[in-house]
């Protein structure tokens, strides 16, 4: 059942690096992360890789396999032929720390810029009441394991460092949508999505949805509905008139 596979793995740091060739044993049922671990134990003890749960739940082991953003722990070796060379490189959108490990601090900065859940002040502990069907919309987005593959693949920032300042990326636009759809959140988040987080940059190519290991419909269920709400607010003449007359733009 086992065979020798050809691997090319990018090794280096923030100054330079290149692909290194390895020939390594592969056994039945293994995933790419198993192979990386075998390399550490037998050929390259200092090969840097970030990982935690090895069960697709923590979102730590994101990398690019044959150019595609994937989790190393959820990519089975059986998807490749035995002859195929498997190339593993670090996420392209973020600066390399070492080998397959990148500096993902951009994401934590963006997370901090999203205003937090604003609880209803009048409700005490145990008094929250929400319908299952109403929480499900936000629950879909809360399945996110923060692997940042969507951020990595999004063309707005993948090859445009200059957009990082004004664009929070699909993960955090989805976070804004999650709060907007939270049944008991008291903030209005529509304008903020457009003005502070760069929703307008997104041209719904759905690349983020395609790479999501949790199969969250980021574009259809989070980004497009937010765009619709922005459009309603901005261009609906009745809403516009209402805003002028009743000053509805201020916080609810």
């Amino acid at each position: 059942m086992s065979y020798k596979a050809n691997f090319k793995i990018w090794r280096g740091d923030d100054t330079s690096g290149e692909l290194h060739d390895f020939i390594v044993e592969v056994n039945e049922g293994e995933v790419v992360l198993d192979i990386i671990h075998r390399l550490q134990a037998t050929q390259a003890p200092d090969l840097a890789v970030r990982w935690n749960c090895k069960a697709g739940k923590c979102g730590s082991c994101s990398a690019e396999i044959n150019g595609k953003p994937r989790l190393l722990c959820m990519t089975r070796m059986s998807v490749f032929t035995e002859e195929e060379t498997v190339t593993v490189t670090p996420l392209r959108t973020f600066p390399v720390v070492r080998d397959l490990v990148t500096d993902v601090s951009y994401n934590y900065q963006k997370a901090r810029e999203v205003p937090s859940f604003a609880p209803p002040k009048e409700l005490g502990l145990g008094e929250y009441r929400m319908k299952q069907q109403d929480v499900e919309r936000s629950q879909e987005f809360r399945k996110c394991i923060e692997c940042f593959l969507c951020q990595n693949t999004c063309h707005v920032i993948r090859d445009h460092e200059e957009n990082k300042e004004n664009f929070s990326g699909p993960r955090f636009l989805m976070r804004v949508a999650e709060l907007e759809m939270h049944p008991l959140d008291t903030e209005d988040r529509v304008r903020e999505a457009q003005d502070e987080h760069g929703l307008g940059y997104c041209n719904i190519t759905k690349c983020c949805t395609e790479v999501c290991p949790e199969h969250i419909k980021i574009t259809d269920n989070a980004l497009i509905p937010m765009k619709e709400r922005v459009a309603d607010r901005k261009y609906d003449p009745i809403v516009w008139l209402g805003n002028q007359l009743f000053r509805r733009g201020s916080k609810r």
């Binding site: 697709g56 923590c58 720390v97 609880p119």
Partner: protein, 637 residues
């Protein structure tokens, strides 16, 4: 040569570990006005808590109004075979509902009941549906919720001080290697950044350990790489004590195939939602494994068990939901006696019990996990499952109310703390433990600070010594052979798995101790290549030291306890012995952690009002006659 440059950070409270307990402790310390640091081996939000699936136990009574803290307390004590620290079990049962509701105010979105309250599901050992949950990803919801609460506190601090990190800062991918004391009390912690390899020193009077468990010392485990017993070992070397280290929980249902995923958790929620265990003959074998202490509490026929899911007042629960230690042992026996599944487990069948749609809705990540990793469609086929090392009941001996260890300034909460779960933890009691005792540890640390009149001082020689120890693996031995840390780790895992695993006996545990002595000697010569920047070989060398010390505690305590109880099963002493019930085995070591010592100590007798929550007939199964002499039931006789 050695770079002894050390970056220094003064804090009021340093929390080591960023899982559920650590984050809750940090939130509390910050809310008490203390400058708080959270130090984590992983990125923020990746902690092992995300692996918890089934739910968080709290007797809110949303699904069955008969539930209350007393019932939860009783279930917890039974689950732990009455070896639990009863005060911790009491605080836990009383405070869990408020802690869960508090998460809603941070933004958590639990699944709902029809009337809009938090839904609660059945789980092993819990009398009523009690586990607040979000499908089968409850741990992720809790981590994300508390992560976002911390961000929210940082935003408040930004408003006030113009700096997000003025009062609460996360140090991600940073590993603590030593605690530093000023005489007998805590003064600081020495650490390295995983990415740069540079050293940092936290100057702090109060440290909360929230480092989780020790599962990475075992080969088949549901635990992630972080679970190397760091907090347990740091506590020992700082002079604190560990209790209950012989009790290791093997979760009955881990994946068994393919080999590379062996050990990955299959949530107990599968059984809570109707899944049943079957052997190779198709028999639901758990009916044959109801132990005497639980006779009368579980259904004895399939018909009764199946009726229980919808009508709990007139049916007893299925024995598929016995406490984990019982189920794990039963599976072990079935496999040993030749009635296992093709890959050495048993079958867990939900496919024939619920419609496919319902399975996907209730257990989405199980569906996903089996589909992607094992090519098994759980809506159509049974899963193959077997025991996997999951949780250590043992940990730092703490004061129940303040979470303080015996070392002033050192606190512990969550899996790294011992006592709460006795000899066996009930599913769902871990997530609630994190938030109840995480909060108490944060509060305990804050109160300790308020009682100090001056801050402790750190001696430079301690810092230099810590730095030298940390870089030692880069010095290749001048004579003899250098050891590969990965090889030593693999041998340790194999040895603990085979010799101090789910079923133990004297000769084997003794063999394990001999092996540990050999590995400890060899570990002195571990050496690594490369530089200090994100070097996993080096990181493993430093973690190995902790794993070896903690494994020694497990093995030594397992050798001493000559009975079987909860997560400690002795083949040569298969019965539970009531004379052992109130004995704790207490582990300690010297400051270098060269070896562990284990001594017996009596447990504090249970407060009478708590004792009276149980029927005398049940207590008689666990307690000695002497201990029950004052019970009103006995006095009346």
């Amino acid at each position: 040569m050695v770079q002894v440059q050390v970056e220094r950070f003064p804090y009021d409270v340093v929390v080591i570990g960023a899982g559920g307990a650590g984050l809750r402790a940090a939130i509390e310390a910050r809310e008490q006005g203390k400058r708080t640091a959270i130090v984590s081996k992983s990125l923020f939000g990746k902690a092992h808590t995300v692996m918890a699936e089934g739910g968080c136990a709290a007797s809110m009574g949303n699904v069955n109004a008969k539930d209350n803290w007393q019932v939860h307390f009783r279930d917890t004590m039974r689950g732990g075979k009455f070896l639990n620290n009863w005060r911790m079990a009491e605080l836990h049962a009383k405070e869990a509902p408020d802690r869960v509701w508090e998460l809603e105010t941070y933004g958590a979105l639990f699944d709902r009941t029809k009337d809009g309250k938090i839904s609660q599901r059945n789980f092993g050992g819990h009398t009523y549906p009690r586990l607040a949950h979000v499908g089968d990803r409850t741990g992720l919801e809790m981590i994300r919720t508390m992560q976002q609460k911390i961000v929210s506190l940082q935003q408040e601090d930004f408003e006030e001080y113009g700096d997000y990190e003025a009062m609460l800062k996360v140090f991600p991918e940073c590993t603590v290697t030593e605690l530093i004391k000023d005489n007998d009390r805590i003064a600081g912690a020495f650490a390295y950044w995983r990415d740069s390899g540079k050293f940092i020193l936290f100057e702090t009077p109060a440290i909360v350990l929230a480092t989780g468990g020790i599962g990475k010392s075992f080969k088949v485990t549901s635990n992630s790489w972080e679970y190397t017993g760091d907090g347990h070992a740091l506590a020992l070397r700082a002079g604190a004590t560990l209790i209950n280290m012989e009790f290791v929980q093997f979760h009955p249902t881990g994946m068994v195939w393919p080999p590379s995923v062996k050990g990955i958790l299959v949530t107990e929620g599968v059984r809570g939602d109707g899944g049943v265990l079957k052997n190779s003959t198709g028999e639901r074998f758990m009916f044959g494994y109801i132990p005497d202490v639980f006779k009368g509490q579980y259904a004895e026929t399939e018909q009764e068990a199946d009726g229980w899911y919808n009508d709990q007042d007139n049916h007893r629960r299925t024995p598929d939901l016995l406490p984990r230690d019982e189920v794990a042992r039963a599976i072990n026996t079935e496999v040993k006696e030749g009635r296992g599944s093709p890959h050495g487990g048993v079958f867990l069948d939900i496919a024939s019990r619920l419609p496919a749609e319902e399975i996907r809705r209730r257990l989405p990540s199980m569906y996903h996990q089996f589909k992607e990793l094992a090519d098994v469609d759980i809506t159509a086929q049974p899963m193959e499952v077997g025991p996997t090392c999951h949780y250590v009941m043992g940990g730092v001996e703490v004061d129940p109310d303040t979470a303080s260890s015996v070392v002033p300034g050192l606190f512990a909460a969550g899996e790294v703390a011992g006592g709460m779960h006795g000899s066996n933890r009930l599913g769902g009691n871990s997530l609630s433990d994190l938030i109840v005792f995480g909060r108490r540890a944060g509060l305990g640390a804050a109160q300790y600070l308020d009682s100090l009149d001056q801050r402790p001082k750190i001696s430079e020689s301690d810092v230099d010594a810590a730095a030298h120890r940390a870089v030692a693996p880069f010095d290749w031995p001048s004579e003899g052979q250098a050891e590969n840390p990965y090889t030593i780790h693999a041998e340790l895992q194999q040895s603990m798995n085979d010799l101090v695993g789910i079923i133990r006996k004297e000769e084997e545990v003794q063999q394990a101790l001999d092996k540990l002595a050999e590995l400890k000697e060899r570990a002195r010569f571990v050496a690594v290549e490369g530089r200090r920047e994100f070097n996993p070989g080096w990181h493993l060398c430093l973690d190995l030291r902790n794993m070896l010390l903690v494994s020694e505690c497990v093995a030594k305590a397992a050798l001493m306890r000559t009975e079987s109880r909860g997560g400690h099963t002795r083949d040569d002493y298969p019965a539970m012995d009531n004379r052992w019930r109130n004995k704790l085995l207490v582990c300690s070591s010297d400051e270098h952690g060269t070896s562990a010592e284990v001594v017996e100590k009596p447990q504090e007798p249970m407060r009478s009002d708590l004792l009276e929550l149980f029927e005398l007939a049940e207590l008689e199964k666990y307690f000695t006659d002497e201990e029950l002499a004052q019970h009103p039931g006995r006095v009346a006789q």
